[in-house]
């Protein structure tokens, strides 16, 4: 299904634009379910046996599988369709976003007096991982277009992209994570929360919903998504504070937050930047505070084929640091930033939107966390679940 945004800044689509969006969502569902299943079948029937005949062993990792799959028609078909479907995600929303620029601006201005803020820093130079490439094949990346365009394209594009699997407000990741933390650690009541690389704040909002008394902040390097996200939050009656800031050089004092969160952010960063982000998270956390990341599961916790499947985005979806991140060990990243081994934990939480809050409660209460499921964890498909990890600061 194609999702219709609920807030006032959603674009008014023509009948043709709405139909195009529905088609792209349907096409993505076809690629990610049917053609993905075909690619797995092709691997098992043809590619893996041929590799074994040639090498006397099965492929050792996703990298070897990638090389072996390149010449198989199932890989070629899946990949060509998926790349084009991704381009069509952005293409199908761009005309409405451009046409409605004025209306969007007026609605945002109307919401300006409401609680919440956005603080932009015109002197901040956006890093090259955002400006040098069209991240996710999104033209202009997070900084392109005029005014709030990039935010609107991202919001409406995600609605098409997610096929309804990221929740009605595109907040399923944040909602699932916040619910899991609240149920697993009921005594933890964060007063001040920070979301790193928050873009339009779609996964920042659910923290404010879950912890209504908390002072919730989001940072991102891209002004268009922050300006849009601030108006988006205000129009939903939520007080959030957005800052144009780089997560690897936070302009916040030491020990100023109880929870530092990120979602689908770390894999967009180079190794050096990622390490700085972890150190900054450690620095701004108060003793007893929690660093928490929702991310793709690491390659070390998946089989080689499913590792290859997830790493596809690294090469073909303009996310060049994706595999490098997934090859790293989350616990080692935390330890390197100063956290203690005993304070690390990881978990898998079912999508709250699909499985419901009782399933999250069950996962949180379980003595043994759910393991990474090769075919559903972090993957937009039926039965999706999210991988999270973090560490407490002593």
């Amino acid at each position: 299904m194609s999702l219709e945004l609920r807030h006032e800044m959603k674009p008014s689509l023509t009948a043709e634009e709405a139909a195009r969006g529905r088609f792209v969502s349907g096409l993505r569902r076809f690629v990610l379910n049917d053609l993905a299943a075909d690619m797995r079948a092709a691997y098992e029937r043809r590619v893996e046996p041929a590799f074994e005949r040639a090498h006397g062993r099965p492929p050792a990792d996703g990298g070897e599988i990638h090389k072996a799959m390149r010449s198989d028609p199932a890989f070629q078909t899946y990949s060509a369709v998926r790349v084009q479907a991704q381009k069509m995600v952005w293409d199908c929303v761009a005309p409405a976003v451009a046409r409605e620029r004025q209306r969007r601006q007026e609605i945002a201005e109307k919401a300006e007096g409401q609680s919440g803020s956005v603080t932009l820093d015109p002197n901040l130079e956006a890093p090259r991982n955002v400006t040098a490439i069209d991240v996710h094949l999104m033209p202009g990346s997070y900084t392109g277009g005029e005014a709030m365009d990039a935010g609107a394209v991202y919001d409406q594009g995600l609605a098409v992209f997610s096929m309804g699997l990221m929740g009605e407000n595109l907040d399923d990741i944040g909602s699932s994570m916040a619910a899991y933390i609240a149920h697993r650690f009921p005594d933890f009541q964060p007063a001040k929360i920070l979301d790193l690389g928050c873009t339009i704040g779609h996964n920042t909002l659910p923290w404010k919903v879950r912890y209504a008394k908390a002072d919730v902040h989001g940072v991102d390097v891209a002004a268009p998504v922050l300006a849009y996200g601030s108006a988006r939050a205000k129009l939903q009656g939520q007080e959030l504070h957005f800052h144009q800031m780089s997560a690897d050089a936070l302009n916040f004092p030491d020990a100023s937050f109880d929870l530092v969160f990120s979602s689908m952010f770390l894999h967009e960063l180079s190794r050096k930047t990622r390490e700085k982000v972890f150190r900054e998270a450690y620095r701004v956390l108060r003793p007893g505070g929690l660093m928490l990341h929702m991310e793709l599961p690491p390659n070390s916790q998946m089989n080689a084929f499913d590792g290859f499947y997830l790493d596809w985005d690294c090469y073909y979806n303009n996310e060049p640091f994706y595999k490098g991140y997934r090859d790293e060990d989350p616990k080692a990243l935390c330890l390197k930033a100063g956290f203690a081994a005993d304070d690390y934990f990881q978990f898998v939480v079912p999508s709250i939107g699909i499985a419901g809050e009782p399933a999250v409660v069950t996962a949180a209460a379980s003595a043994k966390p759910l393991p990474v499921r090769d075919r559903t964890t972090g993957r937009l498909a039926e039965g999706v679940s999210w991988f999270g990890y973090g560490a407490w600061r002593r």
């Binding site: 043709e16 139909a19 195009r20 390149r70 078909t77 369709v81 790349v83 490098g324």
Partner: protein, 91 residues
Amino acid sequence: MAALSDPEDPLAPPEGAPAGIFGPDGRPRFFTDPAVDRFAAALLSLASEVWVQEERLQALEARARPDETPKDPEAALKAFIDRVFAPLREP
């Protein structure tokens, strides 16, 4: 020999990228003949436009025959995609 790349540079080929996965224009290449990549993209755009016309036609038909139960749009889309792209599936 592959060119040495800076792992911090977002424009450099990702670590471990097989040779030849990008064409000279920097875009991913999947088929032996790069023209096939272009035709694949055009085919998908065309299918999208056909679906748009299908939805418009359904809207007109629903207006012309208000007593008939309209088709379930999600099921109709799935059937359309399954039918059009059946040749892409594994035999």
